[in-house]
Amino acid sequence: MTLVVDVRHRLGAFSLDVSFESEGRLTALFGRSGSGKTSIVNLVAGLMRPDEGRIAVDGTVLVDTGRGIAVPRHRRRIGYVFQEGRLFPHLSVRRNLLYGRWFSTVREKRIAVDQVVELLGLGHLLARGPAALSGGEKQRVAIGRALLSDPRLLLMDEPLASLDEQRKAEILPYIERLRDEMGIPVLYVSHAIAEVARLASTVVLLAEGRVLAVGAPADVLSGSEIVPIVGPGEVGAVLDARVAALDVSFGLTSLETRAGPLTVPRVAAGIGSAVRVFIRASDVMLARQRPEGISALNVLPARVVALAEESRTVVDVALDCGGQRLLARITRRSAMAMQLAPGTPLFAIIKSVALEDGGRPQRG
């Protein structure tokens, strides 16, 4: 699947001028609120028409202002999962799910109702009305409804934003399964870095209506462009890893990464499967000698690549761990005391507990 977006649009004082292409299975639009993420999704869905530009999915042109093409939204076959669900209050869950099915012109349904009901765990909800659902259940029904309209692309606009942490954790595995099993490409809007690190195969970084970077999560989310977007406390590095061993008695998982072995808590993935871990810079400690008798399970040999003074107190240290980029945030006083400079060899210490939410299954 190829998604081509190349549009310019003015909305009052805000101007959107973006151009990107993605072939990823899950393309994440990542940026702060007001960066134009939702506008892009609305343009793709046909809820807004761009002043100028072109949008195409898999060679099918949806909008091309130059050629006067603007496919109406009901003929685009773009599924849209809204932030607030938008279930039809007068229809049961079953009829909400089947709504798009009535209008689908595709004879051979690629997606079976039973498959979606099973995938999203909706079996016991079918007879209920939307008012009787929890926030997480509503979002799952909204995802199912969009899937069953047989879309060529699924848009998800911060589907987890209105949910608490527990509900988010409940839905994320469903989104991963849908990404891996349904064969429908997803355009996913989020401003949560851990979510994007975990889900995305391609990240489009946005700020003030412009594209700052496009690429693999490991590159984009660890790059310096990210700092003004996520704020200084949230920067970090994305590590691609493979599950090497499971330690059931302690509830731990050993991962293989380019940086070396990494022990993390309870990853819900089998041995050999690929996962992605996001390590926040503030969760990384540095030591000149290999520490002994320490509680942290992960001690990785590293080399300083660069130092960036973020303020009078804080320094971000870019590290190279066997070819893997890592970021550590330490005080300026520590950096001076340790006499850090580019090339200094040292050890990066990462508490396994800090990775509690970092490593989740990710295939391919």
Binding site: A45, G46, L47, P72, R73, H74, R75, R76, R77, I78, G79, Y80, F82, E84, R86, F88, P89, H90, L91, S92, Y99, G100, W102, F103, S104, T105, G129, P130, A131, R145, A146, S149
Partner: protein
């Protein structure tokens, strides 16, 4: 029944028939007007709104007279309809239906417009992304969600039609058995000596029918709302 005379019964029956037809005839146009006014964005919308509301603020006699000018036997529309389709309004019960429909129209549109405006447009957008053509969006989302207001609009129109007097009597006169509706009959009774008893009986019926319609609409609207809330 209630000791009504044949003449009085005829007036009641005629009034019910006229009011039902007037409501039914207004319904499609009323819904269209409500939808256009609620959702449309076009030049001249306030003019259309004004025209729809005109019968509400004009003296009913004026409305009746305009109808007479337009739909009378010699009126431009009346003559055309009579020639081409053999439809005659002047001094017929159908004319009473037309007068009542026109007078009830603004009340109907108002109630429907408010309820359509109250439907969350984001739901309509969602239906669109699921492949529903705008007509289907209206039929499967907007319409079911605005049912309480549509019922209210129909009842208001019906009640107005039951009580319409000025425009009807101006347009189609007061012919017993043809155009003498309940209010016209009451008026006639008050104009003749010894008519008080008849006027009172018809007044009671008038009150009962209007109250009944109002209660029924309350009930239906509440049921529809409960269904929505439970959903």
């Amino acid at each position: 029944m209630l000791g009504l005379t044949e003449e009085e019964l005829t007036a009641v029956r005629l009034s019910l028939r006229v009011a039902l037809w007037a409501t039914a005839a207004s319904l499609p146009f009323g819904m269209l007007a409500a939808l256009v006014l609620a959702r449309g964005r076009f030049w001249g919308k306030s003019i259309l709104n004004g025209i729809v509301h005109l019968p509400l603020i004009l003296p009913p006699v004026v409305t009746g007279y305009v109808l007479l000018l337009l739909f009378g036997r010699k009126g431009p529309i009346g003559a055309f309809l009579a020639e081409q389709f053999d439809i005659v309004f002047a001094f017929r019960w159908t004319g009473a239906v037309l007068a009542c429909a026109v007078m009830g129209f603004p009340l109907m549109v108002r109630a429907m417009r408010l309820s359509i405006e109250a439907v969350d447009q984001r739901l309509e957008q969602a239906a669109g992304t699921l492949g529903a053509h705008p007509i289907w969006v209206f039929l499967t989302v907007t319409l079911p969600l605005s049912i309480p207001g549509i019922i209210a609009g129909m009842v208001l129109c019906f009640a107005k039609a039951m009580g319409e007097f000025g425009a009807t009597i101006t347009f189609v006169s007061n012919i017993p058995g043809e155009t003498q509706t309940l209010p016209s009959a009451i008026y006639t009774f008050t104009q003749v000596p010894g008519g008080d008893a008849g006027a009172l009986r018809l007044t009671v019926i008038s009150v009962v029918v209007s109250m009944g319609a109002l209660l029924l609409s309350e009930l239906m609207a509440r049921q529809a709302e409960r269904r929505l809330a439970a959903a």
